[in-house]
Symmetry: C2
Subunit: 425 residues, 2 copies
């Protein structure tokens, strides 16, 4: 007994529709239309719908939805010191649970089935992922000047989180190790983290070359760019999710291409904070795997992968004055496929045997009339609001526009109350 979606469109050169069948947690078949439904199947009409494998949000801090709109348009240091940090210090584990759940709800509504997240109070993050039914690669963001100064404790927290949650929720939860960055963790902490990643068989997830000043400072301090420094301490000997990589030079790019690195490009956050524009075409041309992430809502202020993939081509084409840069298929693949391998998913999502992580878009809206080829529709015209259904491991998380595993009104209310309590403390 499975689910059979008749006459649905997919991304590809052909405009003909397919019948898509999934059973249990995996895709059972993709057939030309007019195939026979199997006895006991639930049959759904896919007419006017596009089916994609869900977006992978390759870098985020889900719980930071709490900071959405709290303080925009202020310089980075004011924002951190006067707004974000004072509140983060007050956050209780339960608070992180509700905020993460709100972030997941927003992600589901924009067609995201998997999140690569870094935060703290991670048991609560994992609980929200487990209950909501999404897929995630989670990590605890370690901040430690040295092993003696917080480092040993941070590594122990990370290790306990891996032991407790890696592979849980029927494998939907994977855990990585996250030294937050080179400038917030000492070299001894980094070396121990890399050793631990080898020992536990987990990837690393960190922030790399996000701002020009980070790179300039690091060159002064070590004579190396952040990427070359990470190579020098053997950080690329395990799979790594490298967030941002805005200011990477040709040699950095060659290193990233030569190692099992997935870059998480976060264009809107990089724009809002004035960090710059990552050299995406150069990285892709060199063979670097470049996925797309939203970063946290504090600096975005959305967790909307449809918006994020659109910004990706816009920035590059405008900057390079070339209309054939990063065409629709390229950016769609970045948002859907490029983040899959680091979280242990098969390379192609919409294929027999792959987990049934599926998203349906309504393609019959006024703003998608007349119909496009489907990659172009996603890249140029669709809104996250066009997402009608989301499945992960074959389970419906969004059905006809209604969230099925998250009580949306409750979550909004909890997050609003939390912010009110914190502001009035």
């Amino acid at each position: 007994m499975g689910t059979f979606i008749r006459n649905v469109r997919r991304i590809g050169p052909s405009s003909s529709t397919i019948d898509l069948r999934f059973e249990g947690d995996h895709i059972a078949s993709l057939s030309p239309s007019e195939s026979a439904v199997q006895a006991g199947d639930i049959e759904l009409d896919g007419k006017g719908k596009l089916a994609i494998s869900g977006f992978v949000n390759a870098h985020t801090h889900l719980a930071m939805v709490l900071f959405r709109g709290l303080a925009d348009d202020v310089p980075l240091q004011v924002w951190l010191e006067e707004h974000v940090w004072p509140i983060e210090q007050q956050l209780q584990p339960q608070d992180v649970y509700w905020c993460t759940l709100l972030g997941i709800a927003e992600g589901i509504r924009s067609g995201t089935t998997a999140f690569i997240d870094m935060y703290f109070h991670c048991d609560q993050v994992a609980r929200a992922v487990e209950e909501s039914g999404v897929r995630a690669l989670l990590s605890y963001g370690m901040i430690a000047p040295s092993l003696e100064d917080r480092g040993t404790a941070e590594l122990a927290t990370s290790k306990a989180f891996v032991k407790g949650w890696h592979g849980q929720a029927d494998g939907r939860i994977q855990v990585a190790l996250s030294p937050h960055s080179i400038y917030t963790c000492g070299e001894d902490v980094w070396r121990k983290a890399i050793e631990l990643a080898h020992e536990l068989g987990t990837p690393l997830h960190t922030h790399v070359s996000e701002t020009r000043s980070e790179v300039d400072d690091w060159k002064v301090r070590t004579g190396m760019t952040p990427v070359r420094y990470l190579q020098s301490i053997d950080a690329f000997s395990v799979p790594m999710l490298a967030a941002h990589c805005v200011h990477v030079d040709k040699d950095d790019i060659a290193i990233l291409a030569d190692h099992p690195v997935t870059v998480a490009h976060c264009p809107k956050s990089n724009a809002k904070l004035g960090s710059g524009i990552a050299p995406v075409p150069a990285m892709k041309q060199a063979g670097v795997r470049v996925a797309i992430g939203t970063d946290g809502a504090a600096s975005n202020n959305r967790l909307d992968m449809v918006e994020e993939l659109r910004v990706t081509w816009m920035l590059q084409r405008a900057l390079h004055e070339d209309p054939t840069y990063l065409v629709s298929q390229d950016v769609v693949a970045m948002a859907i496929d490029a983040g899959r391998s680091i979280i242990g998913l098969p390379e192609k999502g919409l294929s027999e045997g792959a987990p049934a992580d599926l998203v349906l878009f309504d393609t019959d809206r006024i703003h998608t009339t007349p119909p496009h080829n489907m990659a172009a529709m996603l890249a140029y015209a669709a809104n996250s609001g066009d997402v009608t259904d989301v499945y992960v491991d074959g389970k419906a998380l969004l059905k006809d526009g209604e969230l099925r595993t998250i009580d949306e009104e409750r979550v909004k209310s909890e997050v609003r109350s939390l912010l009110h309590r914190i502001k009035n403390r």
Copy 2:
């Protein structure tokens, strides 16, 4: 008897709500909350809503929704010669009516109450504007190498359109004169058009310095940039809507600032076609009035002002690596206020006596929780899908998410059929 919206939020420093009342076609009052409703008023609950004066889409070709997604990711000349022009030659007046209506429907759904449009078969464009209830500054795009070669006829067509429609639909329709550009209209045509604009009291609407090659070619041909050439023929002696202005230098900007020019910045179209990034901060700093437009859906592929204002700050902050560039209030004012004067509207929309061109946003969505200050919500987080109600001249065009003056299903069906017919001709 009017309409009374209780407890609605507005853009501004205060987070307190107001009661907003309109009567007939104008705003009657903006009062602190808990004011008394007047006998006979329709009372609406504005709780959780934001009220803005509607967006002005400062440059578009509404009917080009027909070309949405027809051929993306191809070089400009291929796109024009193999796709757009062959179809445009086949368009009948009735076709332009349906396509314009679809574009208007999309615009209303994203909170746009006024459109500055340039196309052909303009009687049909005007008919769609009249029937749908929106406001517009319309023009016939003249293409004529000289007065002898098409020019006299094009000017006659323009003049007839002004005579027939300027001030019609209770003043909702204004008409401009549009030599399409300096490179598609000869100087004698331009000079006659300027003379005619003075005679008829209408503004000019044209494309200026959209691409680098346009500017380079013009310098070779005349020794002048397009802006300096336009000044040399006295084109700025009447109010002008100058679309694009991507490649303008310091002297050009000084000229634009010194004359009654409204620049229509079209960032997504400029990005998609690889035209570049307009120097918006420099123009604003010099005192140029810069509004925002979508351009046509052929090169966008949307008519979504929420997306367009977001792209505006993103491109500038990313390019200049400065997080305080074009803050939320600035881009919101560009999208709402800057396009008003050229279509004859009072400078501030949400004020007593101004036409009741109002848009309500639902601010209680998962992606706008917790609530922002309202300018930041629009600039950073809202979607066009959050628009619930739209009024023009006090008349509801969208009510609780339903279009009231346009049969949306019919329009979609007509446009789909039209494309099918054309492709199979």
